[in-house]
């Protein structure tokens, strides 16, 4: 009798917990931080601030991932959570890298707060003066803001740290001379892709590199289409016509391996824009980009 009551009680309590959780999700405020003072948390940790920092870092990742999967937003809690994490453990480097990327990114991809991103990374540099990666992160934030002078300055300072990657010096020079060029953008995203260990940041960098490739491809393909129009007096209806006219070797494919398409008026477009966030050219007419860019995992 007692064991039956025990089993029934446990099953009922599990069901009730699940029901209450669902009710709280829809009625309670989504974004709340009960203790927002890093100093107070440090004192409450009784000297175990390392573990508390790890718990808050886990919370940062889950908060960002959860908000992102629900359609993104302004990520109001991202800065307070990252601030607490880094105040508790100033040597937690992944927090600065993550914060530098997603605090500065515009909503719905990030918090849209580049000033806070700069403040966070500078705090990281102050506490970890021997880590050149943080200078790279800072330079990238400035680059995104089109502040090429400060970006070059950050690259230069980073290059002076013993053990810094040689490309930092190259990037300092490149930024100083050609900050706004596509070649510079490609170099920045390539080095981000190659140096980060964070899967989300790597996927983000890959998506930007694919977007740059699409922009280049479409520019070239539209020139070919224009050449065809000048020769024949009309726009081609498909790439097969261009192939038949020996202006192309095969049907051109986008970075995701899907064929480009031709719209009326000689416009070259991608077949699945959802796979290629951040592209500026090649969007089909009437296409509305999703609020959440689809970041494809990449190796």
């Amino acid at each position: 009798m007692a064991s039956a009551v025990l089993a029934l009680s446990l099953a009922s309590s599990a069901f009730l917990v699940h029901t209450v959780d669902q009710l709280r999700d829809s009625t309670s405020p989504q974004e709340m931080l009960y203790v927002s003072s890093p100093k107070l948390l440090k004192r409450l940790s009784l000297g175990y601030e390392g573990l508390l920092a790890d718990i808050y870092w886990t919370r940062v990742v889950q908060y960002f991932g959860g908000t992102h999967s629900r359609g993104g937003g302004t990520y109001k809690l991202l800065w307070p959570l990252l601030n607490i994490t880094t105040q508790l453990d100033p040597h937690l480097i992944p927090a600065y890298e993550f914060g530098g990327t997603f605090l500065s990114a515009k909503p719905p991809d990030g918090a849209g707060a580049p000033d806070l991103a700069i403040e966070l990374v500078k705090y990281g540099i102050q506490n970890n003066p021997g880590d050149w990666h943080l200078y790279y992160d800072l330079a990238f934030i400035y680059y995104d803001l089109r502040d090429y002078r400060h970006s070059a300055d950050a690259f230069l300072k980073g290059s002076q740290i013993p053990g810094a990657h040689p490309f930092l010096k190259i990037m300092a020079a490149q930024m100083a001379e050609h900050g706004g060029d596509v070649a510079t953008a490609r170099m920045m995203w390539t080095t981000t892709y190659q140096t980060t260990h964070d899967a989300l940041i790597r996927a983000n960098a890959a998506a930007h590199l694919r977007a740059l490739q699409v922009n280049d491809d479409i520019m070239i393909l539209e020139r070919v289409v224009e050449r065809y129009r000048v020769q024949t007096g009309r726009f081609p209806e498909s790439f097969s016509e261009l192939e038949a006219a020996r202006m192309l070797n095969g049907i051109p494919l986008d970075p995701m391996g899907k064929p480009y398409e031709l719209e009326g008026g000689g416009r070259v477009v991608v077949s699945d824009p959802a796979d290629l966030p951040f592209i500026e050219k090649g969007l089909p007419q009437g296409y509305v980009p999703s609020a959440i860019p689809r970041l494809v995992p990449t190796n």
Binding site: R43, L46, G47, Y48, E49, G50, L51, A53, D54, W57, T58, V61, Q62, D89, H91, L92, P94, H197, D198
Partner: protein, 258 residues
């Protein structure tokens, strides 16, 4: 004399084992196994850091709780069960009794810490697939944790020599908390004036300096610990423990046990 202290220590250890104190290792093993498996999926890039922080924090907290809750009962239980009179009626001096109890509980905690250390290194090897040279500093952090245990055990014995078990637990826990803020207390004393400064300074130097014995965060990041700090912390822990035990002996020798 040494034989009497040793016998009391051995009996104290046996009592702790009989009281199933070492069963906390089961909870610890479950915690570390769970952490080792889950941490890679939820913590993102800081698996080693989490395992070291979690493991060492658990070793420290489990041990502090055991030190306080067993320590406060070491003397009072003997009085309640009337076994103390039997012990003291042998040629066992009161200070030998206190010393034996102290060494017995510290011995229990050292054994406990040893098995927990195996668990921590096991979890670390699981998440990293190998151990690195910098993991050696984890042993030093564990040594400092054992020094913390010595101090808190001596304090629990000190309070239990004149107070009830509940108040002994409260006082010992309060000193643990205040000792974690010892650095802040000294900073406050430096900024204060007059009598407040005098009182704050006295308190700051009287409370145990647990903050200096906590190197978990640094060790988790692979930072080395200076030899000077190791030597100074060891001497400090020995001196403070001796002071607390001397206080316990002084009070216990004057206590009327009737």
């Amino acid at each position: 004399m040494n034989n009497r202290i040793f016998q009391i220590a051995i009996n104290t250890f046996r009592e702790a084992v009989r009281d199933r104190v070492l069963y906390n290792l089961i909870a610890f093993a479950l915690l570390m196994s769970g952490a080792a498996v889950l941490v890679g999926q939820i913590s993102l890039q800081i698996e080693r850091l989490v395992v070291i922080n979690l493991g060492l924090t658990a070793v420290s907290l489990f041990g502090i709780v055991i030190a306080i809750f067993i320590g406060i009962g070491l003397v009072s239980k003997e009085i309640d069960k009337r076994t103390l009179y039997t012990v003291l009626s042998r040629p066992v001096r009161r200070w030998e009794f206190i010393s034996g109890k102290f060494f017995g509980l510290v011995g229990t905690l050292v054994v406990n810490t040893f098995f927990m250390a195996i668990g921590v290194f096991g979890a670390l090897a699981y998440v990293s697939h190998h151990l690195e040279r910098s993991d050696g500093w984890v042993l030093l952090a564990l040594y400092f944790i054992v020094l913390q245990f010595m101090i808190i055990t001596a304090l629990a014995l000190f309070f239990s020599s004149f107070s009830t078990p509940i108040f002994s637990a409260v006082f010992a826990f309060c000193l643990f908390v205040i000792g974690s803020f010892a650095g802040d207390l000294r900073n406050f004393a430096a900024m204060a004036h007059g009598a407040t400064r005098w009182l704050a300074s006295t308190a700051a130097y009287l409370v145990p300096n647990f903050s200096a014995l906590n190197v978990i965060s640094g060790v988790a990041h692979g930072q080395s610990v200076p030899l000077q700090l190791v030597v100074l912390n060891t001497v400090y822990a020995l001196v403070y423990t001796a002071a607390a035990l001397s206080g316990a002996v002084l009070i216990f020798e004057r206590r009327n046990l009737k």
